[in-house]
């Protein structure tokens, strides 16, 4: 009986048998990579703002405290975007005629909000609260990155749920003393562990701070209704 299939079909069959699973694995892997990429999460994407506000200049160079503008951060879920009045506190005197600040002056004069572009966007079913993170010793830096080095603000972290959970499962890896929460330069090594006399590691310090700040355990912190309701 003549062969039904041509010889070349052998290699095609081999290719199919090995190729298809690899294609599948590859697309899963690729999908995962794309899903976590900045393209999807918006990470590191610089957002154009109506006023090219530079955190680098105001925080990094001038050393203005975060809370001068983000006044709600210690009491409210929302850190707050400063009212135009806050800008004008200084800019009535400084750079009062600057072209760049035209939008700000206009807003103040006409009593109309400056339409800032939101940089950190969480889904609507996520209820993030700034105040409790500040109170428990999570630094601004941990989520917002090196804001003091950002000319135009971008989202430093992926803000995926797995990223949130990483800390909620192990807060010790990120906690810092309450007085250092707003610092952009603090590192645990800067502090000495009185027990050993050596510089602190984050693990040692974090474990101590868990106790001190009464941070609740992972079981509590990963309950769904902590963030979703």
């Amino acid at each position: 009986m003549a062969q039904v299939f041509h010889r070349s079909m052998n290699s095609l069959a081999r290719l199919t048998v090995f190729g298809l699973p690899m294609l599948f694995a590859g697309s899963v892997l690729g999908g995962t990579i794309i899903y976590r990429s900045g393209y999807i999460t918006g990470q590191k994407e610089v957002v154009d703002q109506p006023v090219p506000f530079s955190h680098k200049h105001h925080t990094g160079e001038l050393g203005i405290d975060c809370r001068y503008c983000h006044t709600g951060v210690e009491t409210s879920s929302f850190a707050g975007i400063p009212p135009t009045k806050t800008c004008m506190n200084c800019h009535q005197q400084m750079w009062a005629g600057s072209e760049m600040l035209g939008v700000v002056r206009e807003s103040y004069k006409l009593d109309q909000s400056i339409p800032w572009e939101r940089v950190h966007i969480l889904p609507r079913y996520v209820y993030f609260n700034h105040s409790i993170h500040i109170a428990k010793g999570v630094g601004c830096y941990s989520c917002h990155g090196e804001v003091d080095k950002m000319n135009l603000t971008h989202q430093a972290k992926p803000l995926l749920m797995e990223w949130c959970l990483k800390c909620h499962r192990d807060p010790a890896a990120h906690l810092r003393p309450k007085e250092e929460v707003f610092s952009m330069t603090w590192r645990p090594e800067q502090m000495k562990n009185p027990a050993t006399g050596e510089p602190y590691t984050q693990r040692e310090l974090g474990t101590e701070l868990m106790e001190k700040h009464k941070v609740r355990g992972p079981l509590t912190l990963t309950s769904c209704s902590m963030c979703h309701r």
Binding site: S113, R118, T220
Partner: protein, 1094 residues
Amino acid sequence: MVRSTDVPTPVPAGDTELWSGLEEWAGTPEFRDMLHREFPEDATAWTDPVSRRTFLTLAGATAALAGVGCSPRMASREKIYPYTRQPAEMTPGLPLFFATGFTLNGITTGVLAKSREGRPIKLEGNPTHPGSLGGIDSVAQASLLNLYDPDRSRQILNKKNNPTAWEAMVGELKSAVGRMKADGKAIRILTETINSPTMGAVLTEFERTYPTAKVVQWEPAGRDNVREGAKLAFGEPVNIIYDFTKALRVVALDSDFLVSDRSSTRYARDFNQLRRTHLKEGDRVPAENELNRLYAVESMLTATGAVADHRLPIRSADVEGFARALAAAVGLTLPGSAPTVSADQQKWVAAIAKDLQAYKGKSAVIAGDHQSPAVHAIAHAINGALGNVGATVLVTAPIEVRPSSPAADLKTLVAEMNAGSVGALFILGGNPIYTAPTDLKFADALGRVGIKVHLGSHQDETAVVCDWHVNEAHFLETWNDGRAYDGTVSICQPLIAPLFGGRSGIELLSALLSETAELAPREIVKNYWRKNWPANGGSVGGFDAGWQLALRDGVIPGTAAARVDKQPAAAGIPAYVAPSPSMEVNFRADPTVFDGRYANNGWLQELPKQITKLTWDNAIIISPKTAADKNIGEERHGTRGPRIESTGGGEHGRTLADVAELTVNGRTIKGAVWIQPGHADNSVTVHLGYGRERCGKVGKGTGFNAYPLRGSEAPWIAVGGDLKKVDGDYILASTQAHWNMEGRRPVRRATRDEFAKNYAEYVKDPHKTALFAKVPPVAAPEWKSIDENVPGSPNEWKGASAEEHEKKRHAGHAHSHDHDHKKEDGKKEEEHSDEDKRLIPLTMVPDTNKHEARRWAMAIDLTTCIGCSACLAACVAENNIPVVGKKEVTRGREMHWIRVDRYYEGTDPNDAANLVTHFQPVPCQQCEKAPCEVVCPVAATIHSYDGLNDMVYNRCVGTRYCSNNCPYKVRRFNFLTFSDWKTDTYKLMRNPEVTVRERGVMEKCTYCVQRIRGAEIEAERQGREIRDGEILTACQQACPADAIVFGNLSDPKSRVNTWKSQPTNYGLLAELNTMPRTTYLAAVRNPNPELVRA
């Protein structure tokens, strides 16, 4: 009366212990069939005929659209609009609360309005306000929705229906009234009952400026009879208030004082203080004379009648005869001959009189708003004779700014209008075209008025026939003031600038006066109080400080109406005229939409009415016996009930009501008939407020209009009626059969004596006697079979003899009592393992951490629950619960997270006098061993560390397995996109702390988790524990009766633990081993032994 729980077996007709409605009582196959479907409406969705063409279109569209909208990238960035100058008190993300007042029917009730970023999103009771004490009723709660009603009138319209500027309108009106002043033409102002001192002053000023002006007050569901009755008894229109905290015996003569009066919120709180069955000092069951006893004599079953210890159903027209007999029995002589009442009624009269006389000065007789002035006067006289006046019945100066006789005044006004002598008529609020007594022919008379100005929130029936329509500001948009039921004044401050530029009555009239023309409403109100500030109302800082304080607290201290030291006289009571024995027709304001003004309020339309559980409709309500007389409904097992539709591809549960014509005094209306167990025979009740022609999208086409039947000769009770069945039927959406518990004895109940007896036995031997209400985790009959059939019982029990099993069982059982009952016995708790506490240690559900510092739990007291459904309205407002509409309600798809089940108890629905009614609010029970959790394939419902049964919307894929497995039927599924995502105004209204749910997502009560987490964050930030009572769930906060308590189980001193340690505490379906965190305190009644039928 130990009631064990047992496995439900199909119940033969007429043998049901508790039944939700006549369908269940009769046990029709259709009803049982419906129950066996979790979602009876499922099949329906697929019965709509889909043509091949439609199918192909949809299939094509599906293919074409596949992938569209799938981009995981954010479509567009959001914007943030900060303030330009941020108010000092405002922090975005944090709520602010403002004290203001809600006015209805001439009485203001204090509310605290919650504001988020300047938008009022929730109303709560004001604890410092005497009319609220923290509670709020469903109507006040739902009035928030009116603010955001997209159908609200948005502009001022002139005669030609053209939008007009305020200034232009004021100019035209000013010259018009000026002309009339010069010509001596009459100006009339038609308002609702005025209880605002500022409005009173403005009106006085108006009358002074325009001497031809006169004010007429008209309120369709007003309290005229109350006022006239007080006049008869006391000689002047005094205000009568009741102190139910001291009234141990209460007789309600056709009065729904616990729910539907505007003072009910306070009365329900007071009344229930003497109703709690908690053990007294020394673990003693409260004695008979420590609990109050309520007798209700009424026609329509009301919530007050439902919770009464004794209820006598008689025609409303016969209540006067009963009251006179009662007066005679307490030794009063009334003018005219005493009526003769039936032997049965005489028995009641004798028993009640004896009881009242034993409680002189500690009892109260209260007559309903719609009862004749004579009945009110008789009730006052009885109270006088019993020494109650001055003790439980308090007489004060009138709270109305201008006490008047609305019905007579309106008649005079119509006569003037017909004579053509009225030059201008200002209709400030109200909708007289729709509500005026039909015989006055108000619409015709209005045509003869020169200039007609209407101020109203909607372009309603009256607005369209008036020359000018001014859009009215909502009470949260403008300044006002108002007096509470006891006269206390609240300043009603706005929370938001008028959304559509509305104006208030005060503003409109002030604009026509020279002095106040330029003033903002705030200045008008403030100026009035600057002049009239009570001497003792201010603080040390004088008026300005006092004003600020009054704004903050919501009350002006020292403004309660002055006490009047007067005793009632019986001499003024007219002689008795026996009513005709023919059929009577009762007109009542609707329990939800009131006189029709809330017809466009979806929250209220969908709120099941307390007794009938009807939504979206009113009905002609009659008793089963009357139904049989008139051949209405279907006869089943000796009683009349509605038909249940069983056709239509599995769509069940729709009540198919007969339609009938109701005639009285030569007028006829047509409507659906609702057969109501407990209603008096030969009597009909119709609720006003439906059948609106122009009210907006929501209320359009709901119910029938009962006003055309209502004449000025008998506005409340009209005898001589007739009811005739006509062809056709009508589908009513009643929720009484939804989420049915299938006779699993959900409500545990007893009389006080039974409770005392059982408790005494339990104390003697806790091991032998099951407690009154507490059930062992598994009921005794079930125990054996479970033991035999459950494979892999725990090791320690293996091989044990039957006796040992029994011993173990008792050990565990007794322990669970100890655990709940004697908290100090903490050591013992440690010795037992978790398994000991329940009889089925085998479970698929992991244990929640019982050592967790916070374990949330709730207890609901069925003795004090009055079924008012305020909890439901509060839940809707707090949790962004959507309105689904009548059609979806008939499919059982209403979304309310808490339902208030209403059960009848009695062996014959025809026997109205022996019908007992119970209410049971059922939210999610937050089971510790939650059956819903184990079946969810995507872990969208799982336990939180503090024992909450979390529902994660963003995980839910809509399998509905959880709902199938929920024995309490408390889960609600978004079959369609029920939440309104489009209407802009609704977006402002939503609670930003709660997700707005999409289609295909399951939802349920969360114990208001957003409030728990909020309080937790607050406490954690301050490094302290959460205080008991710091977290109030929305239902608990609203409850006027204080029947719901929520708190931390791990805190031994918490209120919820105190409640749960009561012997009356039981878990609903606890035999299923779900270990519900929500438990109930059994319904205990305190009946009069002389009236209990053997």
